[in-house]
């Protein structure tokens, strides 16, 4: 039994961890500096598995870092810069205290600064890595760009964030990459697809800030510092991938159009260009002047069987996407002054529409209200004062719903003064058998290419009474009335389908003793399939059968619940309708 006595807490997991304070001392940094360094370098605290062992027997809550991470931090050149900065502040204070103004000036001139470029390169070795982490960056930059310039953070940071977000939006417009939009009570969620990556970001509403006190602004500012650098480099790369100039320049043609005499009313000369860019109404200049884009054709490979199906599905998807990209092609929008201009201009331009607004609202309007070719006028008031005959007056939700539905929805539900259909979240993906709100069912039917069913005819008639002027304006409405007869027959069809859907799979499973129909091979095939399935079920082992029954039961239960919800909804709607009628009388 020789040898030295083993000491406690000198081997094992203790050796892998280091407490925050020790790490800070090792790096010779103050706590705020240490925090900043960790955020910039992407080093996060760890929770050890056995805290007591790591904490040398104590159970006091502590923040731990991996010792290897801290050792890695020791090599960072920015650490030196932090120390320099500390010395700089000390010297500056001294000079101020002695009222040596020349010394103050000299020190100010030589203020130590640092760049984060190498950190970006190190943390994101490839472009795709960076693109995957862009969600956070976008959220943060959009957030900071809406801050008031009141000293919660540097004005320069706000300006930089604004610039970067404008660049990003211009890229999304140019690439037509937007996929989904969701107006929530918190802010507006956007989703875009950039180079195969789905990117989601949240944009707060303008002027909606009450600065919360329990948020550490210093930490947020540090994150923003990193993310502005990241977003800038990503923007550069994205612009070049589309052959656009970076920093973005307006198209020379568009620039001429946007020239106005009273530019000084909006912004200083220095800010004018950014403002024009942020108006989003003009396209950007390309590096190579040929604007013709080649439509990339998917390469065709000879394939068989399942792959074929996959390929077809993929092709279909791509076609859909192409169609979605040209959703608003040829449409001309005009925004009234009370609608959120930036958001609407952004999404309309993303889908190929043209957009303008009143000259006094913002810089960069391209045409007047009086323009004859305007097709849609977006208004968010109960009624518009002067109405032109040849355009639709609609509420802003129409634009958002169109994008989420990927088709141009009928405008009737979105006229002025009409109670809007609910704005559904595009981020929810229903599985088979889940409850779907009737509005979604309707949209899906529309997507399949079926005509909308006029479920609430009586209500519509009431509406028509209400908006007589509207009818005078829109001759399209009358045409629809003529079409209604046709639609009624289709409505029956749809109702039948809904019924089937509500009963779900149970219908298909059932086998009816057949009248032979020779002319219906589809049905035959179906029956055959059903028979096969039945047989397969019969041949199942006891255990498998049990499992199968369980699954089927679960499915049925789901459907039952969904049905219950739909019934409830219908009852609710009916009650609402009755209420409405009562109040009218």
């Amino acid at each position: 039994m020789g040898g030295l006595q083993k000491k406690k807490y000198e081997r094992g997991s203790v050796t892998n961890y280091i407490t925050r304070n020790k790490a800070r001392k090792k790096l010779r940094l103050s706590l705020p500096d240490f925090r900043r360094l960790c955020i910039l370098k992407g080093i996060y605290p760890h929770e050890p598995k056995h805290k007591k062992k790591v904490n040398k027997g104590s159970t006091a809550p502590r923040t731990f870092y991996l010792i290897k991470d801290i050792r890695f931090l020791l090599h960072e050149p920015i650490v030196g810069k932090f120390r320099d900065y500390k010395v700089f502040v000390r010297k500056l204070k001294k000079a101020y205290g002695k009222t040596e103004w020349s010394a103050v000036e000299r020190l100010r001139e030589n203020k130590p600064t640092y760049k984060l470029d190498h950190i970006i390169k190190e943390r994101y070795p490839s472009f795709i890595d960076a693109l995957r982490d862009i969600d956070d960056a976008l959220c943060m930059c959009f957030l900071f760009s809406t801050f008031a310039r009141t000293g919660k953070c540097h004005v320069q940071t706000i300006q930089l964030c604004r610039r970067l977000t404008v660049e990003w939006m211009n890229y999304v417009v140019a690439a037509r990459a937007l996929r989904k939009v969701f107006i929530s009570i918190k802010g507006i969620y956007y989703q875009a697809e950039v180079m195969g990556q789905l990117i989601t970001w949240l944009v707060p509403y303008q002027f909606s800030h009450d600065h919360p006190t329990d948020v550490d602004y210093r930490v947020m500012a540090t994150f923003t510092e990193l993310y502005t650098t990241l977003l800038g480099f990503i923007n550069f790369r994205l612009y070049h991938s589309l052959n656009l100039l970076y920093p973005p320049k307006l198209d020379s043609k568009a620039e001429c159009e946007l020239k106005e005499e009273n530019e000084e009313d909006y912004a200083l000369n220095s800010e004018c260009y950014l403002e024009k860019l942020s108006a989003l109404s003009a396209s950007l200049a390309r590096m190579v002047s040929s604007a013709e884009e080649e439509e990339a054709q998917l390469d065709q490979f000879p394939v068989e069987g399942e792959d074929m199906e996959k390929l077809e599905a993929r092709e279909r998807e791509q076609k859909e996407q192409e169609a979605q990209k040209k959703l608003f092609d040829g449409l001309k929008f005009f925004l009234n002054r009370e609608v959120p201009r930036e958001s609407l201009a952004f999404i309309i331009r993303c889908f190929g529409g043209e957009v303008s607004w009143d000259k006094s609202v913002c810089i960069g309007s391209t045409y007047e209200v009086t323009e004859e070719t305007i097709t849609h006028h977006i208004v968010d008031r109960p009624n518009a004062s002067t109405q032109y005959i040849n355009r639709y007056y609609i509420q802003p939700q129409w634009v958002y719903d169109c994008i989420n539905a990927k088709i141009v929805l009928p405008v009737e539900d979105y006229f002025l003064g009409v109670t809007l259909p609910p704005h559904l979240s595009p981020f929810v993906e229903e599985k088979e058998g889940d409850y779907m709100p009737p509005e979604k069912v309707k949209i899906m039917a529309l997507q399949r290419g079926e005509k909308p069913a006029q479920e609430q005819e009586d209500e519509e008639e009431e509406d028509e009474d209400e908006d007589e002027e509207e009818e005078e304006d829109d001759n399209d409405d009358e045409e629809e009335d003529e079409e209604e007869d046709e639609e009624e027959s289709e409505e029956k069809n749809l109702k039948k389908m809904e019924k089937q859907r509500s009963q779900g799979k149970s219908l298909q499973v059932k086998v009816t003793p057949g009248k032979m129909k020779v002319e219906n091979p589809e049905r035959l095939e179906q029956e055959e399939k059903a028979e096969e399935k039945r047989l397969a079920i019969m041949m199942m082992k006891k255990k498998e059968k049990y499992l199968y029954d369980k699954i089927m039961f679960g499915k049925k239960r789901k459907i039952r619940e969904a049905n219950k919800l739909t019934a409830k909804r219908k009852a609710h709607d009916d009650a609402e309708k009755a209420n409405k009628k009562k109040t009218r009388k």
């Binding site: 955020i39 992407g42 996060y44 605290p45 760890h46 929770e47 809550p61 923040t63 991470d69 890695f72 090599h75 030589n110 130590p112 600064t113 190498h118 390169k121 890595d129 960076a130 956070d136 943060m140 540097h154 320069q156 940071t157 930089l160 969701f182 107006i183 009570i185 918190k186 802010g187 989601t200 949240l202 707060p204 509403y205 909606s208 800030h209 600065h211 919360p212 550490d216 930490v219 994150f223 510092e225 502005t228 480099f233 923007n235 550069f236 070049h240 609608v339 802003p396 809007l420 609910p422 704005h423 559904l424 979240s425 981020f427 929810v428 409850y435 709100p437 919800l565 409830k568 909804r569």
Partner: protein, 464 residues
């Protein structure tokens, strides 16, 4: 003094001298007799008032008229009075006034006061016109002109010309702040590492600080599997579907109920138990505690004492155990061996019997395995679930923010009337905490090191 006096006498004796003050004649009363043989007394007692007055008068004349009146010509002192001026002259003045339109602006009184009214010009400040080293500089410039005319460039000039211009811009870019809104970006991912160098060189470059240390691979995986942006539930739409809105409301309600329950529990635990409060009875009992002896207790005590005695007896008996006989020993040993044999045979029997229990053993093993597998599965699932949970990274636990919810009557009918709920800033901050990127922290409390001292201001004190 004497000189002044003399001067006075000389001037006054001159025929043309006029005095400003009429009573220049000194009123000579009785003069005091003092010895003036010493300089001090001479200085003290000689009367110089008249001289001073005279000099003052001279200065006044110079100031007001620009010289001595006596030296002035008669024309400058007198004029011929010919009555009031003619009308034509009068008329001429208003024309000028009309031209100017309105009154001529009269100078301010303060300006008039500050105007210099003395007629003696201020003395020239000679130093202001002097240039140091003027002569030398003049000579140098003359020489330079000569050389320039000849076309000669001096060595000094040559050196100046050959010096590189100072580039200030380069320095500025070096000290440019990181958040400069006009900063430029470049293709950071463009230049890939062209050649793979051998490891020895790598090491050298790292050690000399010419190359950055490679980032550990492990740092690139994220501390949480949660997405960066969690989209709000469909009920959070500004114009939600009825049921999804109800679902969100229910969720928020459940959170609130849970909070309420915890609060209630705490309150219950803190509440005073009524049985613990002192009543009159208990107070009295406490006061007489130990004063009134109770018989029952005494009896119990006695019993206990008896027990103790018995125990002591038993212990004493064991210590005085008798010695075992030889026979007893042998017998015990035989018993022991017998017992061992019995156990052995039993074991063997069991082994043999296990052959027939194979099925049940198998079943039990299977059961065991099944249970361990289940446990493993549960543990794996737990581990997976834990990956998306916020970890305990510091003193404080992560506290999720309140759900953003608008009640049915708060919902806006249109986008224009929408009132945003919650703060995006807070949402981002909490998201960072939830993803274990930063540890949850409380705002540092401000601690005053010295006590505040209140003092009334002086001005305020004067009033009260």
């Amino acid at each position: 003094m004497a000189a002044a006096r003399r001067l006075k006498r000389v001037v006054a004796s001159q025929p043309g001298f006029l005095n400003f003050k009429s009573s220049s004649e000194s009123l000579s009363g009785r003069r005091k007799r003092v010895n003036k043989n010493k300089k001090k007394s001479w200085n003290k007692h000689s009367d110089i008032n008249d001289v001073e007055e005279f000099l003052e008068d001279v200065r006044l004349q110079e100031r007001t008229t620009g010289g001595l009146l006596a030296e002035k010509s008669d024309d400058s002192l007198f004029f011929l009075d010919v009555g009031q001026p003619k009308r034509a002259e009068r008329k001429a003045e208003p024309i000028e006034g009309k031209k100017r339109k309105g009154k001529t602006p009269r100078p301010l009184r303060i300006d008039l006061i500050l105007q210099q009214d003395s007629l003696i010009p201020a003395p020239k400040d000679v130093l202001a016109y002097q240039q140091p080293n003027a002569k030398k500089l003049r000579r140098i410039s003359q020489k330079a002109e000569q050389l320039a005319a000849k076309g000669v460039v001096t060595r000094r000039q040559k050196r100046l010309l050959s010096r590189r211009p100072v580039t200030k811009e380069a320095k500025k870019s070096d000290t440019e702040a990181n958040n400069n809104p006009n900063r430029d970006y470049y293709d950071i991912w463009g230049q890939e590492q062209s050649t793979v160098k051998d490891s020895a060189e790598d090491w050298y470059l790292q050690q000399t600080g010419k190359k950055r240390v490679k980032r550990p691979e492990k740092l690139s995986d994220r501390p949480s599997v949660l997405p960066a942006v969690e989209v709000i539930a469909p009920g959070g739409s500004y114009n939600p579907d009825f049921f999804s809105h109800q679902a969100l409301l229910k969720e928020a309600h459940e959170v609130e109920v849970k909070k309420q329950k915890e609060e209630d529990k705490l309150e219950r635990q803190l509440a005073v138990n009524k049985d613990d409060t002192a009543t009159e009875e208990t107070v009295i009992r406490e006061q007489v505690e130990g004063l009134v002896e109770e018989e029952e207790e005494e009896e119990e005590d006695e019993e206990e004492a008896a027990h103790d005695e018995e125990d002591e007896d038993a212990e004493g008996g064991s210590s005085l155990a008798k010695k075992k006989t030889e026979r007893q020993r042998k017998r015990e040993k035989a018993d022991k061996i017998k017992e061992l044999r019995r156990l052995d045979s039993k074991r063997q029997m069991d082994h043999r019997q296990q052959l027939f229990q194979l099925r049940s053993i198998k079943a039990s093993i299977k059961q065991q395995e099944q249970s361990t597998e289940d446990k493993q599965k549960i543990r794996k699932a737990n581990q997976e679930a834990e990956k998306s949970q916020p970890r305990r990274l510091g003193k404080l636990k992560f506290q999720a923010q309140d759900l953003e919810v608008q009640l049915s009557d708060e919902l806006a009918g249109s986008l224009r009337q929408l009132k945003p709920e919650g703060s995006v800033l807070k949402d981002r901050f909490k998201s960072l905490q939830k993803r274990n990127l930063i540890e949850p922290r409380e705002r540092a409390k401000f601690k005053r090191r010295h006590k505040l001292k209140y003092v009334e201001k002086r001005a305020f004190r004067a009033i009260t």
